[in-house]
Structure formats: structure tokens, C-alpha cells
Symmetry: C2
Subunit: 315 residues, 2 copies
């Protein structure tokens, strides 16, 4: 136990938790793509630079999706080169298909992500395809990305519940995870897109994936705070050995299909817990909070992150 | 794993967690005492009745403190008899001293709580006494309450951090807990009054208390969500075997000395997690949420509970 500085939690490690966690910061992509109006490219570029300056080393930057579908990120070609000066920072970008992959690779992207669904309803709503059709689209994308030497992350959304289908059978999630791994995905991100999961559910899915040959060290978790469960679920995942956690600075973003505006786990709330547990993240909480306060000013509304509010004395 | 009804989490138990948790509902006392203006007695009475109707069986009703200090609860003598029709519901009341105890016992209160501090600064700020002076005041109160056949809970506030002192040494918390147990307190409630704790810190305090002879079955945990940590801390406490958890319907209340308006763990967020874990609470989440929405209407502002917002489609 060490004495904290003011404004930081007391550091008391728990047994059998990872020594280090890699935070996959999704605010610039997952957060800003859910904004009603597009954020100026210069603001996005400053946001990513500030996130890097706060110590984040994996910052999902944008999406090379057709502007018709996600106009908020229509400036990907303009934004991505503005981040070329960042050293020691991975900048994954989402690609929906081969056209998007070509655009991303042409700009020098070295980390690619594809966005799959565990449920038919969400695949239809979000991708306008069946699950298998969307996997068929991703297969050549992932293979081409791997051939180009890129690292590939496969998002699996609606792993724990679906707004149309309710409960999602675990084997259905495992099947999509297995397919993405077979294509060559280096990493999976298990998304609780509507935020309904609880810790036992998380642990059961992780155990099933392990049984089916997916090792914990390729699994990231992506929790939403719609029902306030994200950090408890994260803690359970850490106990299972997960070392990659998705989060969004200031809690930006959220699923438009979820029942509340509250969305992604806030990176600051996550860092508070990890710091208290003595788990290394490399993140400077003060700088990160300042960044989220600045971004909240750009967006014209306060951050929903509890930690941001507490540390910035927002009411 | 069972299929949920719409709006409820999928039930997937985790191993080695308690089968049942007793929720100690503090909204009517801890929540309403922090309101700027007093809530009408009739509204308080309806609130407690609705909480009981939602299945809560331990509902802290009010405080018999001098009206000069807590004018919000000056109607304790009027309120408490209005709850006499509630069967099968425990209605603890806070008493600051013998005068308060006499008033409570005269009205038939069978559960008493005293409010101690783990730190000198908060004892001074909240009780205007040193820690030892306040314990000396509580000693005859607890003994008299026990002689009268009452169940006595001892709150210990600032167990994990103090806004003036920073880190709180664990042995200091253990000393106050030991003193309260020696007086005869049946139950302790470990308060993270400013919400800074993280799971390792919680587990270390619980282990120390066990080592010093305080069994887990007399320990309740009282977490605040100031930094979003309350539910992760609760999950860790459940893994340790804790079966009494304090929470406040709709997340009402909070510590006036904490750095944010966000206060008590919301009972709905807790129930969502416990229900998902298959842990019995007896609480009907729909009724409870409706109660918090109603109370939010009475108070004229939305509930900060994530679950209340999601289930009631508040933005």
C-alpha cells in the first residue's frame, strides 16, 4: 500500500490480476461516429494527439466506411495523415470491406479492425447482411490485411444481449469468434453493445471461448455502462486474465440501439480502478481528464464519466 | 443460464458468490438528508411504502438527530409512526446520542444505527468531536439500545479515503470497527464516503477485519459511485463473502464533502448485477425503478442511476 497524491486512489493490488493492461481507446472512432454532427477534422486530430500525450498507446482513429453510412467520419483520408507524427502509438482504423481496406492501407494504416455481429438482427440493422454474409465479406478483407502485414482486430458486437433478440446464446458468439480467428484475426473484442452483461455472464463466455481454443491473450473486452455494469464486468474479466480493455475517453459514444444515452465505459473510470489496483496502463489520469473536459467543451455537453466529473468538479 | 424477460439481464451465476444478498436501502435517510430542501413527510412515507412494495426488507427510514443539524429529517417523530403498518420490513433509524435513542425507542424502533468516522478530520467536521470522543458518546447509546432489545448497526465512514487526510490507514479503520463491536454493535457498515476505493483496497480491509476477529457476516459495505467504482467494489466484496450491501434507490444522496454530486450506489444498478448473477434479493426491479422515477419527479431532477435511466428511457 502506498500513499496516493491528492486526487488519485490509494494503490492496493489484488492477487492474481494482470500486472499491465493495454487500453484500446475508442473515443475518436466509436465515440465521435455517434455524434449527431461531425466534429471538425482539426479537433479530431488534436483529440488523438492529446490522448497520445496522456499516455494511451492504442487509439482507434477513424473508420474507412462509406461517408453515406457514417458521415461523421467522412474525413478519414484527411485525418489519418495528420496523425503520422505520433510515435509509439498504434492507430487502428475500422474498415467495412475491401474498398475501405484499400483506402486504409494506401495511407499506411498498420492496424485494421472489422466489425462483426453475434446476432442476425444486429447484422441486418448495422451491416444489412446476415451474419454469414458479413463474415464472407470480412474473410478476404482480413486475409488481404494480414498479407499486407497489418494487425487485425475483429469486433464482435451484441455478445451479451441484443435489443431485438434478447438473450444471445453463448455458442452463437463463439461461432463468430471462431470464424474471425480462422480468417486470421489477431485479436477479438467482445462487445456488450447494449450494456446488459453481468460478471457471471462475462466469465462464462470467456471460459467457453478458452474451451473452444481461443486463448485469453487474444481477447479484449468492450463493455458499455448503460446499466452501470461496465467496470464490474471489467474486474471479472481481469480476474480471468484479460489484459486488453476497450474504453472511450470521457465515456464518449454509445450504441444508438441501446436504451439510454449512456454508452461506452469511460477510460477515466477504468484508469481509476486500474491505478488503484496497481495495474500499469501508462496513462496519466490528470492529462486524460483534461482532454475529456476539453472535448466536452468542443461538443457542448458534459462528460458522463463519473471520474471526469469528480476530478473536474463538474456537477 | 436462463432466458430473461425483456429488460432484465440474462441470469448466469458466478462461482463462489453468496446465494442471497440483503440490501440495506438508505435512500430515505442518507439520500433525503442531503436534499437542499426538506421533502414533505407524506412523500417520505409514500417513498418508504413503495420501497417496501418493491421488495426491499431493510429500509433505513430516518434519523433522530437534532433538527438544527439535519432539518431535512426534522419530521422523524411524525414519519416513523406512519410506517407502522409495514410488516416484514426492518426500519433502522439513525441516532446520534442518547436523546435520539430515547426518542427512537419511545416510538418503537427496533433497529438503531450510529454513525462513526474512521478519521479525525471527518469526526470533527461531521460530529464536532474527536474519534474517541464520538466513540465515548456512542458507547452508552449502543449498550442501552442492546439492553432494550434493539439491533444495532455501526456505520464507519471514510474507511477508504478522506477529503482532508487522503489515504486512511487500514489499522485506523479496524480500530474503530473493533470499538463498535466491543460496545455491542451487531453489524458494521464500511463506508467509502467519498467514493475513492478500488477492489484491492476493499479486499485488504475485509481481510484485516477478519484477522482482527470481525467475521464477514457482520460486515456490510457502503460504496459511493463518485468515481464509478461502487459496483466493481461490491463485486469484489461479494467474492469475499459479504452478504449485506448498502444502496440508495435511484442513487439518491451523496456526501457533501465528496468532489462530485454523484453519491450512493444506486439500488437499481446493484439489483441489475445481483439479478444477473442469480443472487436473490427479493427486489422487483421494475417496481423499484418506477419508484425512483416517481421520486425523481418529486425532487424535480432525473435519477443519476444508469439502470433507472436505461429502463425508463431517460436521456
Amino acid at each position: 500500500m502506498t500513499t496516493p497524491e491528492t486526487g488519485l486512489p490509494m494503490v492496493v493490488p489484488a492477487t492474481d490480476l494482470p500486472a499491465r493492461v493495454r487500453i484500446h481507446e475508442v473515443g475518436a472512432r466509436d465515440g465521435l461516429q455517434n455524434e449527431k454532427t461531425a466534429v471538425p477534422t482539426s479537433v479530431k486530430a488534436e483529440f488523438v494527439h492529446r490522448l497520445a500525450d496522456a499516455g494511451l498507446t492504442t487509439i482507434e482513429a477513424t473508420s474507412f466506411v462509406h461517408p453515406k453510412w457514417v458521415p461523421q467520419l467522412a474525413d478519414a483520408e484527411d485525418l489519418f495523415p495528420r496523425l503520422a507524427d505520433l510515435r509509439g502509438v498504434e492507430l487502428p482504423v475500422l474498415v467495412p470491406n475491401r474498398r475501405g481496406l484499400d483506402r486504409a492501407l494506401a495511407l499506411g494504416a498498420r492496424r485494421i479492425a472489422v466489425f462483426a455481429s453475434a446476432t442476425e438482427s444486429f447484422a441486418k440493422a448495422n451491416l444489412n447482411r446476415t451474419v454469414d454474409e458479413s463474415l464472407a465479406v470480412f474473410d478476404p478483407v482480413v486475409r488481404q490485411a494480414k498479407d499486407a502485414g497489418a494487425h487485425v482486430r475483429g469486433y464482435v458486437s451484441m455478445c451479451f444481449g441484443d435489443p431485438w433478440e434478447g438473450a444471445v446464446p453463448l455458442h452463437q458468439v463463439a461461432r463468430v469468434c471462431g470464424a474471425l480467428r480462422d480468417m486470421g484475426c489477431d485479436e477479438l473484442s467482445l462487445g456488450d453493445t447494449i450494456g446488459v452483461a453481468t460478471p457471471g455472464h462475462v466469465l462464462e463466455l470467456l471460459s467457453l471461448l478458452n474451451e473452444e481454443g481461443v486463448p485469453t491473450n487474444v481477447i479484449g473486452v468492450h463493455f458499455h455502462d448503460t446499466y452501470g455494469q461496465a467496470l464490474a464486468n471489467t474486474y471479472a474479466a481481469l480476474e480471468h486474465g484479460v489484459t486488453t480493455v476497450d474504453a472511450s475517453a470521457g465515456g464518449l459514444g454509445g450504441c444508438p440501439y441501446a436504451r439510454s444515452a449512456t454508452g461506452n465505459l469511460a477510460t477515466e473510470d477504468l484508469v481509476w480502478m486500474l491505478q488503484g489496483l496497481g495495474i500499469e496502463t501508462g496513462v496519466d489520469l490528470g492529462r486524460l481528464t483534461a482532454t475529456s473536459v476539453w472535448m466536452a467543451g468542443q461538443l457542448g455537453r458534459p462528460s458522463p464519466s463519473r471520474t471526469v466529473r469528480a476530478l473536474s468538479h463538474q456537477e
